[in-house]
């Protein structure tokens, strides 16, 4: 069976950057948005390591803010290099998705 984890990792990173670029947000909210857009089986535990990775690469930064539910939450902001990474992801995704769609639409002659 196709191993979706590699494809998911890169794709999710781009989508998370996009969501954070639109508004300052936190892990659970990002997960809800991703699920809402059709990413099935996404949990906070799936995206949390990606957020740690994006933060380490300085594509996002975070700060703790008080939460109405329990302890303070970590809110994420996009950085300048994060915007650049998002732009290059968008451009690459457009070109690759066209190519993949063409290939997948091929039929056996």
């Amino acid at each position: 069976m196709f191993d979706k984890s590699q494809l998911m990792r890169g794709t999710l990173e781009g989508c998370i950057l996009k969501i954070i670029s639109l508004e300052v947000t936190y892990g659970y909210e990002i997960m809800i948005k991703l699920t809402g857009y059709g990413f099935a089986d996404i949990r906070e535990g799936t995206i949390y390591p990606l957020l740690v990775r994006l933060e380490k690469k300085d594509l996002i930064y975070a700060e703790f803010r008080p939460s109405p539910l329990g302890p303070s939450r970590k809110y994420y902001f996009i950085t300048k290099s994060g915007i650049e990474a998002l732009n290059s992801f968008e451009a690459y995704w457009k070109s690759i998705s066209v190519a993949v769609s063409k290939i997948l639409s091929l039929e056996v002659e």
């Binding site: 892990g27 659970y28 997960m31 949990r43 906070e44 535990g45 799936t46 949390y48 390591p49 990606l50 740690v52 990775r53 380490k56 703790f64 939460s67 539910l69 329990g70 302890p71 303070s72 939450r73 970590k74």
Partner: protein, 228 residues
């Protein structure tokens, strides 16, 4: 200088108490396992704070922790280890020196308290201590065993929690064998006096070394907080 990492650790300990028993066990396993990694201490505590927050919010939404974190906690920790910031060479050196000075210092004080040295100090004002080969060898092995036990325990925290028979047996046999060997070394090898020294000199040296390393560590940790 107050170490802000210790403050954060205390805050996390307080938060842990608000978790359900089930979630507390999971968090303990995860944090134990993360401590076996090369992740820097600061990042481990930040990750701990966030994971505890996730677990608490899940509790408040009447969800289970695995609903938000997934079923494979070890895999989640592995992902975090892969993606988090690793310890720098400087941080590793400080950690090793801290363990060595703390371990040797503790064993040295035990040696003073449980040998004739303490009696001589109070009876005749003699501060001389005999450093034997047994003391040096047993101190070295005690530190090695303590570090090995810590590493084995943290690396296998999930297996211990799941009462994995094989892991428990390896641990018990290894632990017993190491301590038996240590006792035998202490009893049979350790009578040769290498040199005698005023016991206050090594105490002073170890105390200064401890304060120095602790100060350097505090400065470094606090600088990490400032840069965030």
């Amino acid at each position: 200088m107050a170490n802000r990492l210790e403050k954060l650790r205390k805050e996390n300990n307080v938060q842990d108490k608000q978790l359900s028993k089930e979630n507390n066990v999971i968090m303990t396993d995860m944090v134990c396992y993360l401590r076996s990694s090369d992740l820097c201490e600061y990042d481990i505590e930040i990750i701990r704070k966030e994971l505890t927050g996730m677990a608490m919010e899940a509790q408040l939404r009447n969800e289970k922790f695995n609903d938000v974190a997934g079923d494979d906690y070890k895999a989640l920790c592995d992902e975090l280890m892969k993606n988090g910031r690793q310890k720098t060479l400087y941080e590793k050196a400080l950690e090793i020196l801290y363990v060595l000075i703390y371990g040797i210092g503790t064993l040295y004080l035990i040696e003073i308290l449980f040998s004739s040295t303490i009696i001589n100090i109070f009876k005749s004002g003699q501060f001389s201590i005999s450093i034997t080969s047994g003391f040096l060898v047993s101190t070295f092995f005690t530190v090695v065993i303590a570090v090995s036990v810590y590493n084995y325990f943290t690396k296998n925290s999930f297996e211990f929690s799941n009462h994995n028979r094989k892991t428990q047996i390896i641990f018990i046999i290894g632990f017993s064998a190491a301590w038996t060997a240590l006792l035998l070394i202490k009893v049979f090898v350790g009578k040769t006096v290498l040199w005698s020294v005023n016991c206050l000199y090594p105490t002073l040296f170890l105390a200064i070394a401890f304060v120095l390393i602790k100060t350097l560590d505090d400065q470094h940790v606090n600088s990490l907080f400032k840069n965030k």
